[in-house]
């Protein structure tokens, strides 16, 4: 029992060294086996140690420990000599290391042989002299002795004292100096340091590698067939050899064929060394390259914008926004916010990694493959060069430039003005219900009529010897005698304006029911009573005819044709009831209503006091009408089109498509082939009627409604006036050469009128002889712009 514990203690010692599960420790026998060689090694080792340590201060201690070590060994061996366990160990050793542990555990093995015993005994005898008192406490927890001054008892029962411990520093210093330090192991059981021999270390190494610890142990011995020998009488098995041993394997053949096929087909290839790069001269000769014919034109991606100063790591100071500015960025819309805020770093090493690098690169990738590419012409031009080259304005003089006279007196917005043919007088109508006549050059108000209703339109007779003004106010058109001119002229005028009222009423009863010619006693003129509001009055150039437009009466023959007679009658009656006419009149109207006439535009003859409807079909709402300056042609401007009628042939010649939403005014060039149309969107269309039915030019000049457009009678000028309180004056030259397009040059913007109730300039007219422009504003003023 005692012996066994000793062996195990040694085991423990080893285990504690290695701190790893190792196969069972080598038995002592091992030592004895390799005794000779080991001893010699040990001796030399010890010598070296002693030599080393003689010089050091602790040499004695070490010597002691080595002594004690050898002692312990000798003691062990000594004990082995007596015990059967060791022998059995020794015998086991020769067989296999693996069984050793079991054997150690099972005490009293039966296989012990004397021979071994003797050998062991002899050996242990030889070392018996060196036996020193050893610890005999047995396999008890060492913890029990922790607080005791001794570690245990020797064989004679004496206490073995604990050795003096060096303090940690000392031992460390000693260890540092000691080259054998790494071989030293502390044996707690015996309270001593043990220096492992070379062989022991070898063994430890082998254990660590999971090999058999003994160097002479052969883990793979040749197989010895114990069951076969030459003189054996019977075979081990009497079974006949199976057939498969004689024929080649079918499966193997199949596999081989599979491989062969695989290799032939190239599905199985043998691993070749990997090729790093398979780059080669790709563009060997691109000289003889022909452009690819079949493909679509390739548009290379645009290059990224190159960085400016603000992206620098150290930009000039003025590129860095202040903190306030950066804060103000937060108030901006996200898309307006600058994407990159310049920063400044004082040295290159302080530049941090740019956090959006990956993101920006990714965005670029997206652009590259998701954006449709379109080749756009990049206009790197001066914006001014886009504008057409206009002739010098000075060459186009004279034209109205500055305000010369203001005519004040009206108490409401001046809705309309008209200049007498000689250019000496001007008539104006206002929304306050008055019509005034002014002397142009002095600004004196000559005469004034109280109409009582807001005046829509005022027009002088175009003949210079007939001083009659046509005034439209509400449902009436008044023909007023201005009283100008000499007596002879006055006589003629009075004759003209003389009206036989009962006769007239008869006539209306028969023929012209929509208009009645009445004598107006109050103003000493003629009153033409219409069915609806009359917005404009236009004289024919000969001064005998004039046309009136009632835009609100939009009923036309087209309606009639689509409606039944009864419904039409009802409709008419309902409409006419509002105009307080006698009921018999209705019947007449319905009778005289022919299929091809329009009632919103009427033409009146002054000399015969006759009114007649236009014998034309009219689509849409009539806005304005005008006569051709030289021929018997009549223009009616509806909201979207301009219709041109020949009055003699009584048929439509042309239809001009304005493309506007709502036309508001029309003017014909004195030549007669060109006309302009102003619209409520502020657009001005110039038509060249010889050219096409589409506008030759559309000028978007006013932001608000155009109220009137007008041509000058002799100068190549035209003007437009609008609710935005401006009047534009243009140069509009029409050449007699048909191949030459009219020249249009904007000349001047005339300002000066004030806005009132959202309305600006309501009317504008040129002086018949001078290049002067009169404008009538909603601010109760009339202004005259002259060319100087």
């Amino acid at each position: 029992m005692k012996k066994k514990t000793v062996v195990e203690s040694e085991m423990k010692k080893k285990k504690s060294n290695e701190k790893e599960e190792a196969p069972p420790p080598p038995s002592d026998h091992d030592d004895s086996d390799d005794d000779d060689s080991d001893d010699s090694v040990e001796v030399s080792d010890y010598d070296s140690i002693s030599e080393d340590e003689d010089s050091s201060a602790d040499s004695i201690d070490d010597d002691d420990s080595s002594d004690s070590d050898s002692d312990s060994k000798s003691e062990l061996e000594d004990e082995e000599g007596a015990s059967p366990t060791t022998h059995h160990n020794a015998s086991d050793d020769s067989d296999s290391q693996d069984e050793e542990e079991d054997v150690v555990d099972s005490e009293g093995g039966s296989e012990s042989s004397d021979l071994h015993q003797e050998g062991g005994g002899a050996e242990s005898d030889s070392s018996e002299d060196e036996v020193a008192p050893r610890n005999t406490i047995g396999e008890v927890p060492l913890k029990w002795y922790e607080d005791e001054p001794h570690i245990g008892y020797d064989i004679k029962g004496k206490k073995i004292k604990k050795k003096e411990r060096e303090d940690k520093l000392g031992s460390f210093l000693a260890n540092v100096d000691d080259s054998k330090n790494w071989r030293k192991v502390f044996d707690e059981y015996n309270d001593e340091e043990v220096v492992l021999t070379k062989d022991e270390i070898k063994m430890v190494r082998k254990l660590m590698q999971n090999k058999a610890p003994h160097s002479d142990f052969d883990p793979h011995p040749d197989y010895v067939d114990w069951f076969k020998w030459d003189d054996a009488k019977h075979p081990l098995s009497n079974a006949p050899e199976p057939k498969r041993r004689f024929i080649p394997s079918k499966w193997e053949a199949k596999k081989v064929v599979q491989y062969v096929r695989g290799i032939r087909n190239g599905t199985i290839t043998f691993d070749k060394p990997k090729k790093e790069d398979d780059s080669y001269l790709l563009w060997e000769d691109d000289s003889g390259l022909t452009e690819k014919a079949n493909h679509l034109a390739y548009i290379p991606a645009p290059k990224q914008k190159l960085p400016g100063h603000d992206e620098s790591y150290n930009p000039p100071l003025e590129y860095i926004p202040t903190q306030e500015e950066i804060n103000s960025y937060q108030l901006m819309y996200e898309e307006d916010r600058p994407k990159f805020i310049p920063q400044r770093f004082t040295s290159m090493r302080s530049i941090p990694a740019y956090e959006n690098a990956m993101k920006e690169s990714f965005e670029r990738c997206l652009d590259l493959y998701l954006c449709p590419r379109v080749r756009r012409k990049r206009l790197n031009i001066d914006p001014e060069s886009l504008k057409p080259k206009l002739p010098n304005k000075k060459e186009l003089k004279p034209y109205p430039i500055t305000c010369y006279i203001e005519y004040k007196g009206h108490e409401g917005a001046v809705t309309s003005i008209s200049i007498e043919a000689s250019g000496q007088w001007m008539a104006s109508g206002s929304s306050d219900g008055t019509v005034r006549v002014w002397e142009v050059e002095t600004g004196r108000c000559l005469r004034q009529w109280e109409i009582g209703e807001a005046v829509n339109c005022v027009t002088w007779n175009p003949l210079s010897d007939i001083h009659i003004v046509a005034v439209s106010a509400g449902h009436d058109v008044l023909l007023l005698n201005t009283g100008l001119g000499d007596e002879e002229e006055q006589q003629r005028i009075k004759e003209l304006l003389l009206i036989d009222s009962p006769e007239a009423s008869d006539e209306t009863g028969k023929k012209a029911p929509s208009v009645r010619w009445l004598k107006d006693d109050k103003h000493d003129g003629i009153r033409l009573r219409h069915l609806k509001n009359v917005t404009s009055v236009e004289w024919h150039r000969k001064g005998d005819y004039f046309s009136t437009v009632m835009p609100s009466l939009c009923l036309s023959t087209w309606h009639e044709s689509s409606l039944t007679f009864d419904t039409f009658n009802d409709l008419l009656s309902s409409e006419l009831l509002s105009s307080c006419d006698p009921p018999h009149f209705i019947f007449n109207v319905s009778l005289t209503y022919s299929l091809r006439e329009s009632r919103s535009v009427l033409i009146h003859q002054l000399s015969k006091k006759l009114s007649q409807k236009l014998p034309f079909k009219l689509h849409g709402l009539a806005v304005r009408s005008t006569f051709h300056p030289s021929r018997s042609i009549f223009f009616i401007c509806t909201k979207k089109t301009v219709r041109v009628f020949d009055l003699l042939k009584s048929k439509q010649i042309k239809k001009l498509d304005t493309g506007l939403k709502e036309a508001s005014s029309i003017a014909v060039h004195p030549g007669g082939d060109n006309l302009i149309v102003g619209s409520k969107e502020g657009k001005l269309c110039w038509f060249d009627m010889d050219l096409s039915s589409k506008p030759y030019k559309v000028l978007k000049c006013h932001p608000k409604d155009i109220n009137n457009v007008v041509f000058h009678r002799s100068y190549p000028l035209f003007a437009s006036c609008s609710d935005d309180c401006t009047a534009y004056v243009f140069h509009g030259m029409v050449y007699s050469d048909l191949n030459k397009n009219p020249l249009i040059v904007p000349l001047e913007i005339l300002r000066g009128h004030a806005n009132s109730n959202g309305r600006g300039i309501l009317d504008c007219k040129f002086h018949p002889r001078q290049p002067w422009l009169f404008t009538a504003g909603a601010d109760k003023m009339i202004k005259l712009y002259c060319h100087q």
Partner: protein
């Protein structure tokens, strides 16, 4: 009622409907998945088109029919189908635990080849160079990206990108094709001119990039799949053009020292020497090559080896004898083949020997300085010459340190190099001394068109350039004395004096310029030009007040004129004009804010002084 776009049966489609297909239609036609379609589009360079009439709605993407049929005949589609089949087989093998077969299959996965596509996309080499910008930027970015397994960024890929980038840089550096550099917050921009093509690329700062979450890495990898071989072929072509074997063999030791570019340039220099000058150098070169070949073979052992190499440089290596050899300038070598600008670039740093301290951005400086003919070394392993070398003229330092200072050299900040390069002259170093805040770093890509704001330092640089052009002749004589520190010092003083003079001149010039500008402004305002000059500034200002009313009128008139010009324009042109005016307005606003800030700054400075 017949449908609006009714097409009778059997009649072919016409117009846009016949020419374009939507993306969904295209996918159906090609019978491929959307990711694959995207990939094909990226590789083949097929982009959506903008039909005049979007017949299926505005929210659709349209492709041209021809483009789609172009993709239809693409062998890549077949290869990708094969890859898919292969992946299925691998999956099956793995499910059956047949690891060997799975591995074999994995190795045999067909790999799409891009070379044909590259040739198709860029029929001429110049075409490829023309579109190299994005390629280079991307490759340089991925050279700095951390390899992450989860995002499928391979270590190999990153290494390859790094290698390609360095090869490109080495070529540019060797042939002195670099023209402009710009250190921005986003990274460093370089512009090179190769075969008449201006190629600009951005390299991130030598810090690792962060791969943010909102970036779709697979898309970028698709691009990289095209860019990587493209750059490879371009590099091959370029190396071939200067008679070099393409995949260059490098000294792995230098590579490990993160001085790949230096290793490459050494390789280039070593191998392009036309005739062997003396046996010694040739032997050296040979031995180097041998060595590098051996090492090259080693590097084939993939990542682990590379990692080891990288680890190596942390360990002190005891290898004696620096393999380094100075980048020797072979005088008069092929000088004629360079054009004027290249020659200028080549000789910029000819007599400058620069040493980089530890904190200086080594990688970019090692690229830039040799590109402009300079000699450069750095602190650390494998450097061609040590810090103590007496012939060093400049030392690049980014942080003020207490180390030994050599009187014979100037200690400057790295910005000096970049500014010199952009200005094409050797700038006086006073402003760039260590510890000072260097003058602003200006972008060389800005063209100052008329009326644009010109920073003050740009003007200074311009004057310096002008001065240098005049003094080109005396410079070479001065260079002989470079070795003598005393002379150098004296020279420095002279230089400084000259610089001061130049600065004074510049100030005078600027004053004159300002005066001229003011006068111009006055003229514009409609004032009569006073020949008395600017001495009567006060008078003129009062005149302005007096004539204020009239000028107002005049201004209104000019406005009218502008408006009148617009009247006659067609609507399209008018809109264009308005857009132009808006953009001009915006530009002007920007310009004005900068000027305002400048004014404020100047005022603040004046108050301080």
């Amino acid at each position: 009622m017949v449908a609006k776009h009714y097409r009778p049966a059997g009649k072919k489609k016409e117009g846009n409907a016949a020419k374009f297909v939507t993306r969904t239609q295209a996918l159906k036609q090609l019978q491929i998945s959307l990711p694959l379609f995207r990939k094909l589009c990226i590789l083949k360079g097929v982009t959506p088109r903008e039909p005049k009439k979007k017949f299926k709605g505005n929210d659709k993407t349209y492709y041209h029919v021809k483009d789609i049929s172009f993709l239809h005949h693409e062998p890549l589609v077949e290869i990708h189908r094969a890859i898919r089949v292969h992946e299925r087989k691998i999956k099956k093998a793995e499910a059956k635990k047949n690891v060997e077969r799975a591995n074999r299959l994995r190795e045999k996965t067909p790999k799409p080849k891009i070379d044909r596509i590259i040739r198709q996309r860029y029929p001429r080499f110049v075409d490829a160079l023309g579109e190299l910008d994005d390629c280079l930027t991307m490759v340089h970015l991925f050279a700095a990206v951390p390899a992450t397994e989860s995002k499928k960024i391979d270590v190999e890929l990153v290494h390859k990108c790094r290698r390609l980038a360095h090869e490109w840089q080495a070529f540019v550096s060797r042939t002195h094709k670099l023209r402009k550099t710009f250190v921005s917050v986003k990274g460093i921009y370089y512009q090179a001119e190769v075969e008449g093509q201006k190629i600009t690329w951005l390299t991130p700062h030598s810090l690792q990039q962060v791969v943010s979450e909102d970036v779709d890495i697979p898309t970028m990898l698709n691009f990289l799949q095209l860019y990587e071989p493209l750059l490879c072929f371009v590099n091959f072509h370029l190396y071939h053009s200067i008679n070099l074997k393409y995949p260059p063999m490098l000294d792995p030791r230098l590579e490990a020292l993160a001085a790949d570019i230096y290793a490459l340039s050494r390789y280039l220099n070593g191998n392009t020497r036309p005739a062997i000058l003396n046996s010694e150098t040739s032997q050296l070169v040979e031995s180097e090559q041998l060595e590098s070949k051996q090492d090259g073979a080693q590097t084939q052992n993939e990542k682990s080896e590379l990692r080891l190499a990288q680890l190596q440089h942390q360990l002190p290596s005891n290898e004696p004898g620096a393999l380094m050899q100075l980048v020797e300038k072979v005088a008069g070598e092929g000088e004629e083949e360079y054009d004027q600008e290249t020659r200028e670039c080549k000789n910029l740093f000819r007599n400058v020997k620069i040493f980089l301290s530890r904190e200086a951005p080594r990688e970019s400086l090692l690229f830039v300085i040799p590109a402009f003919g300079g000699t450069v070394s750095w602190e650390g392993e494998g450097a061609p010459f040590a810090e103590s070398d007496q012939s060093i003229t400049h030392q690049i330092v980014d942080r003020e340190s207490q180390g030994h200072r050599f009187l014979s050299r100037e200690y400057v900040q790295p910005q000096w190099v970049f500014d010199c390069v952009n200005a094409r002259i050797i700038l006086p170093t006073d402003n760039y001394f260590v510890g000072r805040i260097p003058p602003p770093h200006l972008s060389p890509f800005v063209d100052y068109d008329e009326g644009a704001y010109v920073p003050e330092y740009a003007k200074t640089l311009k004057h310096l350039q002008a001065a240098a052009r005049k003094e080109v002749l005396p410079l070479p004589g001065a260079e002989k004395d470079l070795e003598d520190p005393q002379n150098l010092l004296a020279e420095g003083i002279i230089d400084r004096a000259a610089a001061n003079e130049a600065a004074e001149k510049k100030q005078k010039l600027m004053k004159q310029e300002q005066r001229f500008r003011e006068e111009l402004k006055k003229e514009l305002k409609g004032e009569t030009y006073t020949s008395a000059g600017s001495a009567v500034e006060k008078e003129t200002s009062t005149a302005v007040i007096e004539t204020g009313e009239s000028t107002n009128n005049v201004q209104a008139n000019t406005d009218d004129g502008a408006e009148m010009g617009k009247l006659l324009l067609s609507r399209r042109k008018r809109k264009l004009l308005e857009a132009m005016q808006i953009s001009n307005e915006r530009k002007k606003n920007k310009h004005d804010t900068i000027i305002k800030r400048k004014k404020k700054l100047d005022e603040a400075q004046n108050q301080r002084s």
